[in-house]
């Protein structure tokens, strides 16, 4: 008896109208309905950050948002960062600095890092620690991630 609701939103710059099932998380909606599987499911309790996306420009844990709450909002996922086949500067920096091993945390990390650079183009180590406080990397690539963000900063 799961109720469905029509929602209007923008995803990675495109306006969309879809049906969302009440009770479905934004994370499941992104992966199973929008078929954007770059956003990862990790802990599902807001602790790991693998599912972080930009909602109205701000990083949020999509496992803790309902799909129906997307109505009227602006969503950007990891797939929305590259423009015309060109990787975003921060994506290229992650590759250049080998800022991952398994890569599972990487979409969430890059989204958090992109949002940080948007609000603070020259972040300090402390700013980086705060911005990534909700992103866990179990391979332990934190140092390389920090270097990638620093390399993408405005000097």
């Amino acid at each position: 008896m799961s109720e469905k609701v029509n929602i209007n939103f923008s995803v990675n710059g495109d306006q969309e109208t879809r049906e969302a099932v009440v009770g479905q998380t934004l994370l499941k909606f992104i992966r199973d309905e929008l078929h954007l599987t770059g956003t990862k499911e990790g802990c599902e309790i807001g602790e790991c950050g693998a599912c972080i996306v930009l909602l109205n420009g701000k990083p949020v844990n999509s496992c803790m948002v309902l799909a129906v709450e997307l109505d009227g909002q602006e969503l950007v996922t990891i797939e929305g960062l590259a423009k015309n086949g060109e990787l975003d500067r921060i994506q290229q920096a992650f590759i250049d600095h080998a800022a991952f091993q398994c890569g599972y945390c990487t979409p969430g990390m890059i989204i958090s890092a992109r949002a940080l650079l948007d609000r603070k183009p020259s972040p300090t180590d402390e700013d980086i620690n705060e911005a990534l406080s909700g992103n866990l990397c179990r391979c332990g690539a934190y140092q390389e991630i920090r270097e990638a963000i620093k390399a993408s900063s405005k000097k």
């Binding site: 009770g23 479905q24 807001g46 602790e47 803790m64 709450e69 992103n135």
Partner: protein, 276 residues
């Protein structure tokens, strides 16, 4: 998938109608506690009413009486609000200690206190600032002092049909230093094993402690020694906190560890805020 109704509310009257008539109706603002609680079986919601779009609840302002923080204002918005940073930085510290940056983009102050965890990071600072909770319902409004708002773990003074509209921090502000410090297993995301707020008010001090009793509590024994008896030996004063608490052993720490850490953090807080 959990099944319930979802209503995006457009005004407070609609909120009251839905809350008055329904059972298991939960207000949804940031949802960061609610989502986890529903999945874990803590809440069996039949209806979620989304209140975060209501203008009345988005208020974040300072006027001649003090600072008002609406129920839909996020913790990151509070941390960045200049009058909070300038006048009551201890509350900014408390808000900043909750969860992680991405959680704080959704989580609200009202949600943190309504969840009523004994370990809520914002509760101890609010207890040091004489904050009050503005509650609304179809039958009117009432203000509850923060010290009377928490009635037990996960329990508050809210009655059926009532909604927290805002939290109010009155003037005069402390005009002195305050610190919120927290012992936890990890640097972010984890709940406090012990949380301690120490706020100087000139030659007086207010201290509130979290995660060491069924609700956040004031360390009245320590306050009395410092404020009334003129105790200046902070180590001696800090020991008295043991009279004010009743910690339990859980996965975050033992009762004994909490007794120890709360004393340490109270002593450090006194050292950092009270001049000698």
């Amino acid at each position: 998938m959990l099944s319930y109704e979802y209503v995006k509310c457009t005004d407070l009257n609609q909120v009251f109608q839905l809350m008055d008539k329904g059972e298991q109706v939960y207000p949804l603002a940031g949802g960061t506690d609610l989502m986890v609680g529903m999945r874990g079986g803590k809440y069996a919601a039949k209806m979620l009413i989304d209140i975060k779009g209501l203008e009345e609840l988005k208020v974040l302002k300072e006027d001649e009486k003090g600072i008002t923080i609406g129920a839909a204002v996020t913790l990151n918005e509070i941390t960045l609000f200049a009058p909070v940073q300038k006048n009551i930085p201890i509350l900014a510290d408390g808000c900043h200690s909750v969860g992680s940056y991405s959680i704080r983009n959704r989580a609200t102050l009202a949600g943190n206190i309504c969840n009523a965890s004994p370990a809520a990071d914002t509760a101890a600072p609010l207890c040091c600032l004489d904050a009050s909770v503005n509650i609304v319902s179809s039958s009117g409004t009432r203000a509850v002092p923060i010290g009377e708002f928490f009635t037990g773990p996960g329990k508050t003074a809210l009655q059926k049909g009532e909604l927290v509209q805002s939290i109010f921090i009155p003037k005069p502000y402390p005009q002195a230093k305050g610190v919120y410090s927290k012992a936890s297993r990890t640097g972010s995301v984890d709940l406090a094993t012990v949380g301690v707020a120490v706020q100087s008010w000139g030659n007086q001090v207010r201290i509130a402690v979290g995660a060491v009793a069924p609700t956040p509590v004031r360390a009245v024994s320590v306050e009395k020694a410092v404020n009334e008896k003129g105790e200046k030996d902070w180590a001696n004063a800090a020991k008295l906190v043991h009279n004010d608490i009743s910690p339990i052993t859980d996965l975050r720490g033992s009762r004994e560890y909490r007794f120890h850490m709360v004393e340490v953090l109270v002593r450090r807080g006194l050292e950092q805020t009270m001049e000698v």
